[in-house]
Symmetry: C2
Subunit: 412 residues, 2 copies
């Protein structure tokens, strides 16, 4: 299969590209490098050193003998999207290429607008390019379990059958996202569903939980194949952050009571789920939603698990809630569709936590303790980030290409 991985330089895009390449697919990797620019803006860096996009693609060829077709450009540039699809002629597109941090989207107005425009316009450009060139291309889009929020009923996979006043219909599952980032994913889902309906596109929306873990069978083959590891307050995810806090002798910081429960999955299962979606494509016109996680844990439970596995003393601090979300809530979410396709989950065992602690331990000299605590406050419209290099959070210093193409700046 010819598979284009958008965001192929990122935490999950890169290992996904290697995994699919090793499985015999012809893989193209597309990236604009913006994830590395967020690091510059935030004044932080991946805990594990990562090679440049060029270097890692070259190294993969050395190690595996396999070639990745590399494309540098921005999805908000419609000509780039169109030319890349025309040149690579994919059978499927795996779309990781979005700003994916909730706190980043909540820094201030500029970051909120940037996140929504970047994510929504990039996906619109992709939908148009597919519709124009080949409506048979299977779009595998990364969504998030955070689209659903925390309703007081079971969460289903994308749709719910509702009986109301004696009539029944199957309708899109109601969404209650908790950040401007999560909202951008809800907007995407609605746009993609509509594109499938009017153009007969085939799409799978992977509503992914929070991913943990670092090494994959392919990334361990050479240090220059390593993927990034984020632990900071803006891009770091909770389990990685707890492991870094433990090995650097800092308290594990739980927001509020820690009763917030979330679906989680191992990075190895991200790769497997994407592969299962690709092997079993959606039908023409079908907008299919899979909930992509394997287990649910509360934040407090995760902190306890890390404390239990850490070979030393670790304490747990409860911080005031920076976000607006329920600290205690009902949470039960369906996730059977990927299991039905054959997913064999890698669960969050003691040895998995130990392996993440080992990654953190090996690189703990690179930890910037000032980057770990939350700096973005949901109730404020302008959080002042104080970062290692003095960036002030007054807007991204990078640029995106030509967002509303043809409708340029300057009107009254």
């Amino acid at each position: 299969m010819r598979i284009l991985v958008l965001g192929g330089d990122g935490y999950l895009g890169w290992p996904t590209a290697l995994y699919l390449s090793r499985r015999g697919h012809q893989v193209g990797v597309v990236d604009n490098g913006v994830r590395r620019q967020y690091d510059v803006e935030m004044g932080v860096d991946s805990l594990v050193p990562i090679a440049s996009f060029d270097q890692r693609v070259d190294r993969w060829k050395d190690v595996s003998g396999l070639t990745l077709d590399r494309f540098e450009g921005d999805l908000t540039d419609p000509a780039f999207v169109s030319e890349t699809l025309a040149s690579f002629e994919p059978d499927a597109v795996v779309h990781f290429a979005e700003q994916r941090s909730a706190p980043y989207s909540m820094i201030d107005r500029e970051h909120a607008v940037y996140t929504q425009v970047n994510n929504v316009v990039g996906t619109l450009n992709l939908l148009y390019a597919i519709a124009e060139q080949n409506r048979d291309i299977h779009l595998v889009k990364l969504g998030t379990m955070g689209e659903y929020g925390t309703p007081n009923i079971d969460i289903e996979e994308g749709y719910i059958e509702i009986t109301h006043r004696g009539r029944t219909d199957v309708l899109p599952y109601p969404k209650q996202p908790g950040s401007f980032y999560h909202l951008s994913k809800v907007h995407d889902s609605h746009n993609i569903m509509f594109a499938c309906r009017i153009w007969g596109l085939r799409a799978t929306d992977l509503n992914q939980g929070i991913v943990y873990g670092h090494d994959t069978e392919e990334t361990v083959l050479h240090p220059e194949l390593a993927t990034r590891f984020d632990y900071d307050g803006v891009f770091g995810t909770v389990l990685n952050r707890f492991c870094v806090q433990a090995v650097t002798g800092h308290p594990l910081t739980v927001y509020g009571s820690g009763g917030q429960t979330r679906g989680m999955l191992n990075i190895l299962d991200t790769l497997a789920c994407v592969e299962l979606a690709l092997e079993h494509p959606a039908d023409p016109g079908e907008f299919r939603v899979f909930n992509q996680f394997t287990e649910s844990f509360s934040v407090a439970e995760m902190a306890e698990m890390v404390r239990a596995e850490f070979n030393g003393d670790a304490t747990i601090d409860h911080l005031p809630m920076p976000r607006v979300e329920k600290e205690e809530h009902y949470y039960r979410a369906a996730h059977t569709k990927l299991l039905d396709l054959g997913l064999n989950p890698h669960l969050l065992t003691r040895s998995v936590i130990q392996s993440i602690l080992a990654v953190a331990e090996a690189h703990k000299d690179r930890v910037d303790p000032g980057a770990i605590l939350p700096t973005v406050e949901w109730r404020s419209t302008a959080s002042t980030l104080v970062t290692a290099d003095g960036a002030d959070g007054n807007g991204p210093s990078f640029t995106v290409a030509d967002v509303p193409s043809g409708i340029s700046s300057g009107g009254s």
Copy 2:
């Protein structure tokens, strides 16, 4: 009350501003003039001649002795939004200022992206400005009944109680919008709901049906106070179009079987509903949704009603469906909340249809017959508009200010 009307130069914004002004409110009108630029792009014009924004504001002062504070600028320019709010200090903001044509949003990729960026970013900028300056400002936002689509169950007002696997919750009503324009309104609704939750803003979303009619008590006071009347295939709405077709001797063009059923309301009820929402504001933190229509009709029924009232021969033609929508479907939508607040509907009587026919008759020499038929096809990614002045539909020729401000063009 100090009320800022955004989109105050448009079909509904202008009469709303006059109505509120005459009721003793201090009214500010904000517009960027883009609705008039769409006319230039499409090569059409309002059937009823309209005065310039300046002229009509000055004429209102002559006629009524009342002053409207006029602000020219674009909501996608965050500095303009912030400065306008700071200068006018509104108690309430009525937000009509969005690209509001479904066919326009479906012309091609550029128009789809423009519509979503313009509407979503404008509203985000407004939410941030309210949150920064005065969270007590009541936002009255124009949504659309088209957000719901045509589910096979009753449509409720914004929320629905769902019992599922033995548990019950009240959740946002599932949305199935039918164009990139309607999608932009769904995106807005989700963003506003979230802003109310995190910042305690108060907002009312008016999910309006299709508006018909032209004259109001205020606009008839002088010809230069008239509001626009659209009949073209892109911005014209169905009942106005049928009346223009009848008086110009053209068949009334029904798309498909005409079984599409929609909520409708008189322009006079738009004014009354906005006033009722303003008089009974949402609570702090409340995102309230009213379905703003008074009666439902199928397209075929409306064509029959116009044919019956037209003083001459009118035929009905069934055209192939340009849109992707159900031609026959269940439709029952709640609309009791505005009635409960005291709305006294102006129904679609024979005399109302006769009055719209009279407007069309009085200006029929201004009709461009070539502008009436549908030119935008939902299944195509690039409709070729053939318009009176030769515009080719290859993108808006106007510009919007500084869309993702601070994140300018030029990235890799």
